[in-house]
């Protein structure tokens, strides 16, 4: 397909507003300003655009949940926290085409009648925060932001807000707490942010890639966007491929392409000609897929049907050399580190999984370990926690245990004889041979 979101990649001076304008930039913003906010929302609803951050919720519908008669201010937040392991697409958009994001933020703000928008970007992305600041300043200098924009009467300020190192702040209510100057503790829902969001006001939080789609939808139309991909899974999608492939990177492809095509055609197959063992289809929060499931289509509905999720489109490929106990351990370390600590099943469960897996790797696996892992995961998923981080560690770990159980059993057989005895499960105080910190 033609490049849409990545059309500027490789173009000289692609970040400059002059380059963006020459490619038809800000035409979508002008068009939006000539329409009513409701009509703009309707166009996005008709395009069937679904959120690119992970949940795949229909974007236009999310906008429409903002109460129409709310008198006070409303806020639009662009989520550039990009922290899901395996995900590096938003950085690519900002690197080559930051005005696409600024224009998307502007159109979305207008649609929900917000006069202030924040772009929440992860703290490590200093370079990309600066790129966004420059783009915003350029847009403001041209009159695309500020007061009475292009004579329309609409006002908009966009501010870049840097995070400070916390995966959980990618969760929209934790992000809102973080903007408010607090620890990033997710909020109980309802109320949903569309009703009570940042500063207690109606708020919409959209991912960078989601908002980057919006200018194109405005200029080229909902029908054009919906013609890409397949029904209910429309539009181009950025797939971030990393791990054991020959050509890792960000690929823009229509939703509905198979993982086989992504991995073998676009990424040049597995490194060293080895066999595909497993892959995470959408960041490590998504249940793992085996090499045998590579013909599944990479879109929201097909992934859900296959018992996993498209998530953020971060595909991590593992070849036959991968040790799945080690992989589970690495995943456990990530979530144990990033759990905010509010909910017991997540705080304790992710830690216990990490402990058990560290012990298994250290040669002390015990017969009950796989089932203990599954039990911990069961108690942390499906609504047992305030936010989805409980599921985010429980689903990948339980899927790895279920799909690669023989590797866990082999650890038990190979373990030191002492470990075979029935012993209480205690925090692991021995060596931690895994790589986590």
């Amino acid at each position: 397909m033609e490049a849409v979101l990545l059309r500027a990649r490789g173009v000289a001076d692609s970040r400059a507003i002059t380059t963006y304008l020459a490619a038809g930039g800000y035409e979508g913003w002008k068009k939006a300003l000539s329409m009513t906010p409701e009509a703009v929302t309707q166009v996005v609803i008709d395009s069937e655009l679904r959120g690119r951050g992970g949940a795949g919720f229909p974007t236009g519908r999310k906008w429409s949940f903002v109460p129409k008669d709310h008198p006070g201010p409303r806020y639009l937040i662009c989520n550039a926290d990009e922290s899901e392991p395996g995900t590096f697409k938003d950085r690519e958009i900002i690197e080559y085409d930051p005005h696409q994001v600024v224009e998307g933020v502007a159109i979305a703000s207008y649609a929900i009648k917000a006069a202030t928008a924040y772009i929440y970007i992860r703290g490590e992305f200093v370079r990309w925060a600066n790129i966004l600041e420059e783009a915003i300043a350029e847009a403001r200098a041209r009159g695309f932001l500020g007061r009475n924009i292009l004579g329309s009467g609409a006002d908009l300020d966009i501010w870049v807000h840097r995070g400070a190192g916390a995966y959980i702040c990618g969760e929209e209510t934790a992000l809102i707490e973080s903007i408010e100057g607090k620890r990033g503790f997710p909020r109980l829902k309802p109320p949903f942010p569309a009703v009570v969001g940042v500063f207690g006001k109606p708020t919409v939080v959209n991912n960078v890639e989601t908002l980057a789609c919006v200018p194109h939808i405005m200029t080229r139309g909902a029908a054009w966007f919906a013609s890409i991909g397949r029904p209910r899974n429309t539009g181009p999608k950025l797939f971030c491929v990393s791990g054991h492939v020959n050509r890792p990177g960000v690929y823009e492809l229509p939703l509905g392409v198979t993982f086989r095509e992504i991995i073998y055609e676009h990424c040049g197959g597995i490194r060293g000609g080895r066999k595909l063992k497993a892959f995470f289809p959408g960041g490590t929060s998504a249940p793992i897929m085996t090499g045998g499931e590579v013909d599944v289509q990479a879109d929201f509905d097909a992934c859900a049907q296959a018992g996993t999720m498209l998530g953020s489109g971060g595909i991590i490929v593992l070849d036959e050399t991968a040790d799945m106990v080690d992989v589970a351990d690495n995943v456990a370390h990530f979530y144990a580190h990033e759990s905010c600590g509010q909910c017991t099943p997540c705080r304790e469960g992710s830690d216990w999984c990490m402990d058990i897996l560290d012990r298994m790797l250290a040669g002390h696996a015990r017969p009950g370990d796989p089932d203990t892992l599954l039990r911990i995961c069961r108690f942390s998923s499906a609504g047992m926690t305030i936010c989805p981080l409980g599921d985010a560690y429980a689903l990948p770990i339980s899927s790895i245990v279920n799909k690669f159980r023989p590797e866990f059993e082999a650890r038990i057989v190979a373990a030191a004889p002492l470990a075979q005895k029935k012993l209480p499960v205690l925090p692991w105080a021995g060596p931690r041979p895994g790589f986590g910190v």
Binding site: P73, V126, A164, G165, G181, F280, I316, C340, F435
Partner: protein, 174 residues
């Protein structure tokens, strides 16, 4: 790439802090972006870290005073996030990604190499105060695995040789 070194204030320089006019101007510029002073906390902490290199207890007090918060609230926020340094950092902080894609693509031998070369483990600092080694979770640059962030800059597609070249250059500049 020329990574800027961190110039960390000595602890005795930031025991009690009064913001000068430049800082006050910057803080005022941040405050006008939000409807509440509390929301300026993260950005103001960033301003402090840029200026002083780290967030001392004295700075937390000064920030609390300036924004009308309690020092305990400010410390609670500082300690929640991983990127605010609560001790003076080395001039170059090497944040090595340990998450899955980096671990799968040569991150482990890279860490072993770094530990050997610098003679320190995760959390350690070299005696000359030049390098500090930190193991971190996903940096969001998995296509360039293995990845190391040095101060504000990303270094991708590394191996021991490339990383040595970078470290030699930084060491040369001091």
């Amino acid at each position: 790439m020329s990574t800027r070194p961190i110039e960390a204030a000595r602890p005795d320089e930031v025991t009690t802090v009064t913001f000068d006019s430049t800082m006050e101007e910057r803080i005022a510029d941040v405050l006008r972006r939000y409807p509440s002073a509390r929301a300026a906390l993260l950005p103001v902490l960033w301003l402090c870290q840029e200026r002083y290199g780290w967030i001392s207890p004295g700075l937390m007090n000064a920030v609390a005073e300036r924004l009308g918060e309690s020092p305990a609230f400010v410390e609670g926020v500082v300690s929640f996030y991983t990127m605010y340094y609560t001790e003076p950092p080395a001039r170059y902080v090497l944040q090595v990604c340990t998450t899955l894609s980096c671990a799968a693509c040569g991150g482990r031998p890279l860490v072993e190499h770094l530990k050997g070369r610098l003679g320190i483990g995760f959390g350690g600092k070299t005696a000359d105060g030049l390098f500090q080694l930190v193991g971190v979770q996903c940096l969001g640059a998995c296509g360039g695995a293995p990845v190391v962030q040095i101060n504000d800059d990303y270094y991708e597609n590394l191996d021991a040789g490339r990383l040595d070249t970078v470290l030699d250059e930084l060491k040369g500049r001091g």
